[in-house]
Structure formats: C-alpha cells, structure tokens
Symmetry: C2
Subunit: 339 residues, 2 copies
DNA sequence: TGGTTTTTGAGGTACGTACCTCAATATTGT
DNA sequence: ACAATATTGAGGTACGTACCTCAAAAACCA
C-alpha cells in the first residue's frame, strides 16, 4: 500500500490539517514544522495521489490549441488528433479545444491570448510565428496562471517549452537523404517553401544546405521558391524554374503542406528521374510515397505532438516533472517500406 | 460538468444501486432495465470516472515484464525504461516489475507463467520466442484473468496483442536503405543474425531480401551468419567470411544486439568503404553512427515499447479501448543528423 | 505576567464510484 | 390469490485528498 496523508501525519507527528497545510502551501505553519513534514515525505516516500486530489477539488483540465486559420492536410491531421485525445483522455477530466486565428497577424493573436480567462483555460499550446507581441503575450499569460507551450513552430525559449522537432536537424536529415540518394550524379536541387520569413523554414534550409554543401559538391542547391500558400502562384513559379533549369535532379519541399507544390512537381518530372523529399505525412504525401512520386518523407507524428503538448501542460498544472524521453519529438524518416 | 452516476440514475429513472449493478455487471437486473440504463448512458454521454472507481476499490495495477535472462545494451535500455515508467506513473497506482528467464527454455517460461497469481499480477508483457508451450501458457494466463501482450518478439495472434514493429517491414526498410545507399555499385551484402531460428530474424531477412533482390540486382546477399550470441564465434565467422569475400559492399546486422558483431565489422572495413546498417539505438550503435561506422540504424523506441505495453495492459484491465495510433510502434530510421 | 497573535489539532463535508445490507416492491408460477 | 422468487430502492461506509470551521495550544510581545 502506498503511504497516504494519514501515514504522513503520523510519521511527522502532526495532524492531518497541518499535513494539508504543508502540502498545499497554505500559510500559518512554522518553518520547522514544514521541515518535519518534508522530511517525513522523503522518509516514507509519500507520493500525492493526484487522482484523489483532483477528485476532491473537482478539478478538470481545459487546454486550448491555438492553430493557424488556414492550412491543408497537415492542419487537418492535427485537428483529428486533438479530437482523438479528447476521446482517449475523456475518462480523466481533460478537455482539449481548438481556436484558429489568422497567423500572420501577431497583434490579433496577442489580443486573443490577452482575453483568455484563467478560470476557463488551464493551458495553451500555441502554434504561431515568432514575434515580439506574441512572445510578450505568452509571458503575460504565464504570469496570469495559464500554462503555455510553443507548438510545432514558434519561439523556443527552452527545451521544456517547445513541442516539435529541431528544424535544423530535420533539414540536415533531408540533405543527407538527398545526397546519399543522388548517387553522385551532378545536378541542381530545387527547394520549395511557403515562406522564408519563418524561423522554421530558415532553419530547415540552413540544415539542408550545410549537409549538401559539405558532403555533396555535385549538387547545387537553388534559391528557395516561396509559394506563399497560393496555389496558382505555386504552380507558376515551379514551372518556370523547371523551364529555366533542365538539370534539376532533386526537389526538397520544406513546407509542412506539400500537396499543392507536389502536384506540379509530379507533373514535371518523370517517375524516378528526380529525387523528391517532402515533409509531413498526410493522405496525399503517403499516397505519393507509395506511388514512388516521393522518395522520402521527413515527418513528425501529429498524434505524438498533440499528446505531448497535453502531457506537458498537464504536468505544469500539477507542478510535476515530465518524462523528457517521452516528450522528445522524433524526426521520422518514412519510405514506402516503413509507412 | 461531466455527468455522474447520479445524473445517470436520474436520466434512466432508476436508483443509484441499479446503476451500479448495471455498470459493474452484477446479477439481478431485468433485461429491459439494463437497456434503459444503457440508453441513458448513450443519451447523456456518461463516462465512468476511472480514477474515482480505482480510488473506491483501492485498485492498483501490477504489471510484469518477462524478459530474457541474457542480453546486452538493448536489454539494458528496456530495463531502464521500465524503471522510468515506474517513476512517471507512480502518482497513479501502477507498478511495473521485471522477471528475467532464460529464453531458450520454453518449458521453464511456461512454468513461470503457470505459477503467477492473479491476486499479485494484473498483466504480463511477454518477450519470448514463439513456442507451443508458451503460447498455451499465455492463453491459460488470460483465462485465469491475467492480461497478456506479446512484447517485441513472439507470437502475433492479433494486432492488439503485440507491442513491437513489423519485422518484415523493418527488414524491407533496411533493404531499401542498403540499395539506395549502394549507388548501383556491385558487391556482396553480409547479413549477421544471432539466430535464424526465431521468427523475428526470419522476417527481417525475408523483407530485406525481397527489396534487394527485386530492385538492386547489383547486390548479392550472402547467407545469414549466426552468432548465437557468442562473442568469440561472432568474431571468427565474420572474419572468415570477409576473408572469403573481398567484395563485400554492405553489412546488415539484423539482431537487436549489434555491439559485438559491429566491433569486428568496424575493424575489417575502412570507414566509408562498406555500408553498415544495424538495428536498435544503444550507446554503442549511437556512437558508431556519429563516427560514421554505421550508415543507418533501424530502431524502435524502447521507451515507447514499454509505455505502450503498460497502456495496453491497463486498458485491458479496465476493459477500455486503446488509442490505436498511439500504440503503433514506428520503424524509425536514424542517421547522425536525426539522432 | 497578561494579552495578543500565531500555530496546531480535531472534526466535519465533499468529490465520484464501489460495495454492502436490508427492506420494499414487482413478477412469476401454481 | 397466494407464496416464492426476482428485482429494485434507500441508505450506509469507504477510498485519498481538499478545504472549511472552531477551539485549543503554543509562541510572542510589552
């Protein structure tokens, strides 16, 4: 049997009321009494039963995922996983909700965060581009008692404060695959991004270039193409770049929504002619991998991302340590064989 | 507020006692009353509060990991992760223990399982080679009310009953990497296994061969070398095979303990000369990957394996559904870049 | 020393569920 | 219609913790 507060009271030679005061940081306990209780906790290995505590205080956790307004299949995957989490953690008192905000307006995001009520929301997973306004709003949120984590993209203040992959490493991984798959045959590599104004894109590109430039001198990486998320523009700029560069051997799509650029790329390259590496597993990229239109996918598990964010926020609410190895989001490499 | 048993009783027009009888499958309730309650559950979306239920019945979960007696670094990783789980799930009432048995003796394993007491153990994660005795003992365990899962290796009766990777796919992934990294240069591929008498090894080999034979005709896969887990023998057979085959271009170590064979392989090949692909991330393989002695690692996350086994056993104890996407163990591919 | 303030203890209720007992109905068979 | 049986209800206690009140004890100050 695990020791309870009663055992703790007996061991410390105090009453249950005092144990309660110490455990919950209430005032009116002398320093040496606190110490006696703390020592007793250590001695008998008391671990607070969080389930019972939450039951007693009727606590439930309400978390909010703040996601971009616009997106394609990757965003949809995230939404689906958030729904799953609600179903799976339903037996505990946990609810995850979603709010979607136009991501390009930091002011609006900051305002939204400002308006959140600590009585309504316990934690926020924030997927938003880096900006001073948002960073400040995030800090203020924490000061008001709402826990926050940066989700997938955004400002990384510390390891514990970010749920997502190391984008520099992800880019380097893509670069390594591109190089090793290229079989030392010379050619150009096209890089397609949604925008190069985000830190994520810059880091991926940087990691990619580092590996390719250092180890694969036969490959020439072209300047990044920016789709801006516009389908028509995407099609046009890819087509014109291919027209100008007949010797494109590889394509690296570093944005998380690969569907639109991939459609054009597929039309322009004969299967097996060009190496294509893209990010994120979605119904579209999965099918493209199976039909050999993509050679490799670099991904992060959306389910893991969502659950990790929830676990981290929960641990913070409970002032508990997290299990670091569980929350490390892996940079996965997917071929048709290990889908 | 989530509906409680009281709300459920009111909705169904029965007493709390009857709700309790229905929820816990007690006898003495008429069929149509059960139906009324069930309908009310659906209607108000009642979800049993498992924390409160476990509190009331002072339930705790005791799980046992049955692992091989002998092993190297991968086994050590597993043990470490089991320890972590105990620390992390300590606030809930869960304890994971380990028993290690000589894996080559199915009779002894069956006897051990037979001796387990349902009052002492709620579930067993069983890592043992396939054998009729063990399979029967496992079935008898379940009939006696102890939940079981096959862990990492062993008999796969169903998807839900196995925690580990698809070894055929893992082998195929290794084959794909070997082929694509080989740059169409002809040569032989050495395959090193601990034993080819286990289903896991056979499946990995099969998957590997399928891909290499189909898509990379320049590569010739040699017959599997069996180390039998003996260090000296391992060294000898690898050396003599290399002596007989000067044109070995690739080495695939398919056993989960790669350290010993890898040491010999490293001595025999100049860096960058031979492609080396191994399984499982351990301190040794990780270092070898960083120093370019290994080109790629195919791994399964030991922490994920352990936690998944625990979650599955727990869900079974609670007669709850699992979240399938969370329990799918991924075949990970590791390079130096995405360690 | 007496009074004031601080600290501690004792006891209660509550959370949502399990499990028990006993009495009160309802249903069944004859 | 009666007894026998099956079903249901009412009420209690318990799990481990939170949070409340009130009184008792201890420490502090002048």
């Amino acid at each position: 049997m695990r020791p309870t507060t009663k055992d703790l009271a007996k061991e410390a030679g105090v009453s249950l009321a005092t144990v309660d005061r110490v455990l919950n940081d209430r005032t009116g306990v002398r320093g040496d009494t606190v110490k006696r209780v703390s020592e007793a906790i250590e001695k008998i290995g008391f671990i607070r039963n969080i389930s019972a505590a939450n039951l007693a205080r009727s606590k439930s956790y309400r978390f909010l995922f703040l996601l971009p307004r616009t997106g394609d299949q990757f965003l949809f995957e995230l939404l689906a996983r958030i729904g799953e989490v609600n179903a799976a953690f339903g037996s505990e008192a946990m609810r995850a909700e979603v709010a979607q905000i136009h991501e390009s307006d930091p002011h609006q995001i900051a305002n939204f965060l400002e308006a959140l009520d600590p009585d309504t929301v316990d934690g926020v997973a924030l997927m938003a581009p880096e900006s001073p306004q948002v960073r400040d709003a995030k800090l203020r949120l924490e000061r008001r008692g709402i826990e926050t984590v940066a989700f997938i993209s955004g400002q990384i203040t510390s390891d514990e404060d970010f749920v997502g992959i190391d984008n520099h490493a992800a880019g380097a991984t893509a670069g390594r695959l591109m190089g090793r798959f290229s079989e030392r045959r010379p050619g150009k590599v096209l890089v397609i991004a949604e925008t190069m104004h985000s830190r994520d894109s810059l880091e991926r590109r940087l990691g990619f270039d580092e590996v390719v430039n250092a180890d694969y001198p036969d490959l020439t990486v072209l300047p990044s193409l920016e789709t801006r998320g516009e389908a028509e523009r995407t099609d046009q700029i890819i087509r014109s770049t291919f027209a100008r560069n007949p010797d494109i051997r590889g394509v690296y799509i570093l944005s998380s929504e690969a569907r639109v650029p991939l459609q054009t790329v597929t039309q322009l390259t004969k299967a097996g002619q060009s190496l294509v590496i893209a990010h994120e597993r979605t119904p579209f990229t999965e099918a493209a991998l199976l039909s050999r239109q993509i050679d490799a996918l670099i991904t992060q598990d959306p389910g893991h991302l969502v659950r990790s964010a929830v676990r981290i926020l929960r641990a913070r609410c409970d002032r508990r340590e997290i299990l670091a190895s569980q929350e490390k989001i892996r940079i996965e490499i997917l071929f048709a064989e290990n889908l």
